[in-house]
């Protein structure tokens, strides 16, 4: 079919039957090869909308993926709310250096979350940069490509502010305090999602790594993460919504669907065919090519094989299972793209 990449991706989000699924990076997409090709590098691209727009489109321009994506990390929101962030290097994403807020369940002492108002947030620091970059992407590339805007989930963000370990510990010792914090963060995220949609994003992809089964008991998922995703991301108007969680998400796939998002983005620890079976067409499935293996450490043949296998399993969009490592070689990405496109 002679669809534009944009049409294909949006159709895939609606779970339409296509001749082949689209191949696009829904998570962090920039790599050194793209930076070299475009002569735009991290860390500058994190804080300049024009540079972010161009580098975020690198996946399409350099390798032929079928979307463009703004934001390259999960630290923008935390920084705006007061965390100290190391901007990183060209091959390393920014890192949170300190948690500005006190949250100690062992001692039972907690700061009160006095955070800035949502309206102010979307005009502050790097969130504003990302919103602007999204707008620029829509103008320049939005005809041809679906524009994906990436951000951070409320539970993860709360963890960034108070230390994830303390927050998770709090679930056992002082659940009310945990709720207090995530409640405080949620309206900000909600406003952010909407702002990104208003700026022209076709898809908002939200990452909630702290809600992974590595950290959170599936039985507590809805209470501390799922409900908040439902109240923020899933309420976004004018854009499709995708919830991304790392780790073995098999036990929480049903819950992720319950949040009401359009699509789920998962990683390779879940067997592709099993995921399709469990999800049973209740949401779009995005993923789940392994980032370390095969993308970083495997051969182009391995990457091509993975793409074909996942397409055969029935995923709606073939995408890496997690944010790309900047060190991933171009030939591997090209192999993946070609394999899916030639189906």
């Amino acid at each position: 079919m002679a669809m534009t990449p944009r049409e294909r991706v949006l159709a895939a989000m609606k779970r339409e039957k296509l001749d082949r699924p689209p191949v696009a990076v829904f998570t962090q997409s920039a790599t050194i090869d793209q930076m070299d090709a475009l002569n735009i590098y991290w860390p500058e691209a994190h804080s300049d909308p024009k540079l972010m727009c161009e580098l975020g489109a690198g996946q399409a321009k350099v390798f032929g993926f079928e979307a463009v994506r703004s934001s390259f990390c999960l630290t923008a929101e935390a920084e705006a709310l007061g965390c100290k962030v190391d901007p990183g290097k060209s091959d390393r994403t920014p890192m949170l250096k300190a948690h500005p807020f006190h949250f100690d369940p062992m001692e039972g002492s907690y700061d009160t979350p006095n955070l800035m108002a949502p309206e102010e947030f979307v005009k502050t620091g790097r969130p504003a940069v990302i919103i602007e970059a999204t707008k620029l992407m829509k103008e320049k590339y939005g005809q041809e490509y679906a524009v994906i805007a990436g951000n951070t989930g409320p539970f993860t963000l709360a963890g960034h502010l108070v230390s994830t370990e303390n927050l998770v510990f709090g679930i056992m010792m002082d659940p009310d305090k945990v709720h207090e914090w995530v409640d405080a963060v949620n309206p900000i995220i909600k406003a952010y999602c909407q702002a990104l949609s208003d700026a022209g994003a076709d898809i908002i992809q939200m990452s909630e790594p702290s809600a992974s089964t590595d950290l959170l008991d599936p039985a507590t998922f809805m209470e501390y993460a799922g409900n908040y995703v439902h109240d923020s991301l899933a309420q976004t108007k004018g854009a499709d919504t995708v919830l991304h969680i790392c780790g073995d998400t098999k036990p929480i796939l049903d819950y992720m669907i319950q949040t009401g998002v359009t699509g789920l983005s998962i990683e390779e620890k879940v067997d592709s065919a099993e995921a399709v079976k469990i999800v049973n067409n209740r949401a779009a499935l995005v993923g789940n090519v392994g980032v370390v293996n095969p993308l970083l450490q495997g051969t182009p043949e391995d990457c091509a094989a993975a793409g074909k296998r996942i397409a055969a399993a029935g995923f709606n969009v073939i995408s890496p299972g997690c944010g790309l490592s900047a060190l991933i070689k171009g030939e591997n990405l090209k192999a993946l793209v070609n394999a899916v496109k030639s189906l």
């Binding site: 390393r92 890192m95 998770v168 510990f169 679930i171 056992m172 590595d214 008991d217 370390v292």
Partner: protein, 212 residues
């Protein structure tokens, strides 16, 4: 196994932090030595916690609760052990490699290794490799445990191997790596002595290193 010991194990497994110190004291009162309490009681309890974690019955929160209960007991008896000239079963330097700050995994491993009855030197996160090696040398640690979630920091683990080889310490100080970006193949490639998939495996690797 005495009733007091069984009770202590129960308290740690169930993560009753506030009862940890008391239960430990009761064991001391019943005549158990600090050795027995650490190696037969607290260790056994953490092993059970590890099993539950592996069986997906416990998740991070429960492990943290148990770990903190463990520390309550350990704070009481560890000084008695080392103070009397006794030794723990081994010394480990652990940390998250420079460039990465994800330390929850490292903290669970730390709890499991403490549960084995080992002395742990926790260097924290974003730790330069050179510092970890120096600490191991100065404290006489025989294991360096490195963790990272991210791929750019893998280079640091490779550097550690090079430093140890150059100083003739390979074999004397064993290295074990773990974390989302690592794999068995990578560990073999760089010459690390051990790799583990999760905290439970990590404690098995460390046990094997020390011949426990």
């Amino acid at each position: 196994m005495s009733a007091e010991m069984d009770a202590l194990i129960d308290v740690v497994v169930k993560g009753k932090i506030k009862e940890g110190k008391d239960a430990t004291q009761k064991c001391l009162d019943a005549g158990h030595s600090p050795q027995e309490i650490i190696f037969d009681g607290l260790s056994a309890a953490m092993a059970i916690v590890g099993d539950k974690y592996a069986a997906k019955q416990y998740f991070l929160p429960q492990v943290l609760l148990a770990a903190n209960t463990l520390y309550m007991g350990l704070n009481l008896v560890l000084p008695m052990l080392t103070g009397a000239g006794g030794e723990t079963k081994g010394k480990v330097v652990i940390g998250v490699v420079e460039g990465d700050v994800h330390d929850i995994g490292k903290n669970i491993v730390k709890a499991m290794l403490t549960g084995l009855g080992l002395t742990i030197y926790d260097m924290g996160k974003d730790v330069p490799i050179k510092d970890m090696v120096e600490k191991a040398k100065s404290e006489g640690a025989t294991i360096i445990a490195e963790s990272t979630l991210m791929t750019p920091t893998l280079a640091g683990m490779k550097a550690c191997e090079a430093i140890l080889a150059e100083e003739g310490l390979k074999g004397q100080i064993k290295t074990m790596i773990g974390g989302g970006a690592t794999s068995k193949e990578f560990a073999d490639q760089i010459g690390a002595d051990g790799w583990s998939y999760d905290a439970v495996e990590a404690s098995k690797v460390a046990s094997a290193f020390l011949g426990l």
